[in-house]
C-alpha cells in the first residue's frame, strides 16, 4: 500500500475521507469485501475435498491413470488428434494475425492530424471479439459450421483477432513517426506510408505478439474439442466420459508434450526474430 503524499490541512471530514491515503484504504477494504463475499456466497465443498474419504478416492482416481494406454492404434489416433490440434491453433492464429492487422489500421490514429473517425467503433468491435472466450465462440460456431475442427479454427481466429487487433493498434500508435511524416510531406497516400514507413518498423513486434499468442492458442485449441471441435479435446472428453482412464492419461500426456513443443518453438522464433 503506498504511503501517499503528505496529508493536506483537513478542512472538512468528507475531504479527509477521500484523500490519497484514505483512498488506498478504501480500495483495500473494497477488495477484501469482494473476497470475503465470494468465499461466503459459494457453497464450496471444502470438507468433501479435504476429508480422508476424498483423499482415498483421489488416490484411487489417480491410480487409474497409470499405466497410460500405449497401444499402437491408440497412439496413432492420439497422433492424428495432436496434428489436428496443432493445425487448428496455427491456422487460427494466422487468420487472426491477418484480420487483426486489417482491423488495427482503422483502429489506430497514425498521426496527430488524422481524423480517425473509425477508431472508436473499430475498438469497440475488437473489444467485443476479445471479450467472448474461445469456447463460447466455438459453441456458437458449431451451430453454423457443424461438428469438427473448422468451428474450432474459426473460434480461435475470432477471439484472437480481438486480442491481436488491440495489441497491433497500440503498437502502430507507438511507432516512431519520423519516416512516415517524411513520406507524407511528399504527398504519399496513407496505404503506402503504412507499407513503406510504419510496417517495417513494427513488423518484428507484431510477429512477436502473434507467436506469443500461439502459445495461448495451443492450450485453447486442445480443449475446444470438449464441445465437439475436434482434436485432442474431443478424444479427451470422449474417453473421460466412458471412464477410460488409461486412454485419458495418454491424451493428457500428448497435450502436455504439444503445449511444451509449441512454447519452445514460439520462444525460439521470438529470440531469432530479435537478433
Amino acid at each position: 500500500m503506498s504511503s501517499g503524499p503528505a496529508l493536506p490541512p483537513v478542512a472538512t471530514p468528507s475531504q479527509a475521507l477521500w484523500n490519497a491515503r484514505c483512498r488506498a484504504c478504501w480500495l483495500l477494504l473494497a477488495m477484501l469485501a469482494l473476497v470475503v463475499a465470494s468465499f461466503w456466497s459459494l457453497d464450496l465443498q471444502w470438507g468433501q475435498f479435504f476429508s480422508l474419504d476424498a483423499a482415498r478416492s483421489m488416490g484411487r482416481f489417480i491410480a487409474e491413470f497409470f499405466p497410460p494406454d500405449t497401444s499402437p492404434e491408440f497412439l496413432r489416433k492420439v497422433a492424428l488428434g495432436t496434428w489436428e490440434t496443432l493445425a487448428m491453433s496455427a491456422l487460427g492464429t494466422l487468420l487472426a494475425a491477418v484480420a487483426g492487422l486489417a482491423l488495427a489500421l482503422p483502429a489506430s490514429r497514425l498521426h496527430a492530424a488524422e481524423r480517425a473517425w473509425a477508431r472508436a467503433p473499430t475498438r469497440a468491435l475488437l473489444n467485443l471479439l476479445r471479450a467472448v472466450p474461445e469456447l463460447v465462440w466455438a459453441g456458437l460456431l458449431l451451430i453454423a459450421a457443424g461438428l469438427g475442427p473448422l468451428a474450432g479454427t474459426l473460434a480461435l481466429a475470432a477471439h484472437t483477432t480481438g486480442v491481436l487487433g488491440r495489441l497491433f493498434a497500440e503498437t502502430l500508435e507507438n511507432a516512431p513517426p519520423g519516416p512516415g511524416a517524411a513520406l507524407r510531406t511528399q504527398g504519399v497516400g496513407k496505404g503506402r506510408v503504412f507499407l513503406y514507413a510504419t510496417l517495417p518498423q513494427v513488423l518484428p513486434q507484431l510477429l512477436s505478439y502473434t507467436l506469443y499468442r500461439w502459445e495461448n492458442n495451443i492450450r485453447a485449441a486442445a480443449v475446444l474439442g470438449v464441445v465437439g471441435a475436434g482434436g485432442l479435446g474431443q478424444l479427451l472428453a470422449f474417453h473421460m466420459g466412458l471412464f477410460h482412464m488409461a486412454k485419458t492419461a495418454t491424451v493428457l500426456g500428448a497435450m502436455l508434450l504439444l503445449v511444451g513443443l509449441v512454447d519452445g518453438l514460439s520462444y525460439g522464433s521470438r529470440r531469432w526474430l530479435m537478433r
Binding site: 467472448v132 470438449v226 479435446g233 479427451l236
Partner: protein, 277 residues
C-alpha cells in the same frame, strides 16, 4: 569522389531467400488446412445456412423476463465469485513458489556459483510451475468434476492451480528482472531472506506485481465462464444449457450480460492499475 562509377548490381541478393521462405510457408499452409478441415465455404452450404438462420432468428427478441434476468444476475455474481476465490487461492500457491524459484534471494549464490542443492530445488520449482501452467484449466476442471462433483468447487480449484502456475512464473520473472543490487546488498550484510524480500525486492516491484495480478483477475472471470461449460456453475453453465436447447434469446441476453461484465472488469482493472502503478 570516384570518377568511374562501380558497376551497379543487377539482382537483389535477398530475393532468393525471400522466395524460399514464402514458398516454404505456402507449402506448410496446405497440410495445415487439410488437417484442420479448413473449408470455410461450408458455412455457406444451404443446410448450414438454414440452421444458422433459424438460430439467429431466435436471438431476437432477447429473453428479458424478470426471473430470467434475476437468474442471470445471480449467475454473473457466481462467475465473479468463482474467479475471485480461485485467484486468491492461486496467490496462496504462487507466492511461496515464486519466492522459492527466484535466484535473487539465494544466499549461496552471493559468493559465486549457487550450491547444488538450492540450484536443483529452484529448477524443480520452476518446472513445477511450468507444468501447472501448461495444463489447460478446462482439463483440471474436468478431472475435479469427477472427484468433487458438479459445482463451483471444481472451477475454483482449476483456476487456483492454473493461475497459480501463471502467477508464480510471472512473479518470478518480475522479481528477477528488476535491479538486484539493493537485495543483494541486504543479503551480503547479513539480513535474512524475508528481510531482504520486504525491504529490497517488494518495494521495487510492488506496482508491477499488483498490476499483473489485477490483469489476471479480469482474465479469471473469462476463464470461469469457460469452466461453466463443463459443469463448474456460473454463467457458462447456463449458456451451455441454453445453447444446447437452441434458445437464442437466452443466449443473446447472457452474452450481452457477459460482455458487459468483462467490459466492467476491464475498466475496473485499468482504473486499479492506474491508481497502483
Amino acid at each position: 569522389m570516384s570518377a568511374s562509377l562501380p558497376a551497379p548490381p543487377q539482382r537483389d541478393p535477398a530475393w532468393l531467400g525471400r522466395l524460399f521462405w514464402i514458398s516454404a510457408a505456402l507449402v506448410l499452409l496446405w497440410p495445415l488446412g487439410v488437417a484442420s478441415e479448413f473449408k470455410p465455404w461450408t458455412l455457406l452450404a444451404p443446410d448450414n445456412l438454414k440452421v444458422t438462420g433459424q438460430f439467429l432468428g431466435t436471438f431476437l427478441p432477447p429473453a428479458h423476463s424478470a426471473e430470467f434476468l434475476l437468474m442471470v444476475g445471480r449467475e454473473a455474481w457466481r462467475t465473479v465469485a468463482i474467479a475471485t476465490t480461485g485467484l486468491v487461492l492461486a496467490l496462496v500457491l504462487a507466492v511461496p513458489l515464486a519466492l522459492l524459484a527466484v535466484r535473487v534471494l539465494s544466499v549461496s549464490a552471493l559468493s559465486g556459483r549457487m550450491a547444488r542443492g538450492p540450484f536443483w530445488l529452484r529448477q524443480a520449482v520452476r518446472w513445477g510451475l511450468v507444468v501447472l501452467r501448461s495444463v489447460p484449466e478446462l482439463v483440471w476442471a474436468l478431472v475435479f468434476v469427477r472427484v468433487v462433483g458438479l459445482g463451483p468447487t471444481a472451477g475454483v480449484l482449476a483456476i487456483a492451480l492454473t493461475y497459480g502456475g501463471m502467477l508464480g512464473k510471472v512473479y518470478a520473472e518480475i522479481l528477477e528482472s528488476g535491479d538486484a543490487h539493493a537485495t543483494e546488498t541486504l543479503l551480503r550484510n547479513g539480513a535474512s531472506r524475508s528481510q531482504a524480500l520486504f525491504y529490497g525486492l517488494l518495494p521495487q516491484n510492488a506496482s508491477e506485481l499488483t498490476s499483473y495480478t489485477v490483469y489476471r483477475w479480469e482474465c479469471a472471470i473469462r476463464s470461469s465462464v469457460v469452466l461453466g461449460f463443463v459443469g463448474a456453475g456460473g454463467l457458462g453453465q447456463q449458456m451451455d444449457n441454453s445453447m444446447k436447447m437452441f434458445n437464442g434469446g437466452e443466449v443473446f441476453t447472457m452474452l450481452a450480460v457477459f460482455v458487459a461484465l468483462v467490459a466492467l472488469a476491464d475498466q475496473v482493472s485499468a482504473l486499479l492499475r492506474r491508481m497502483l502503478g
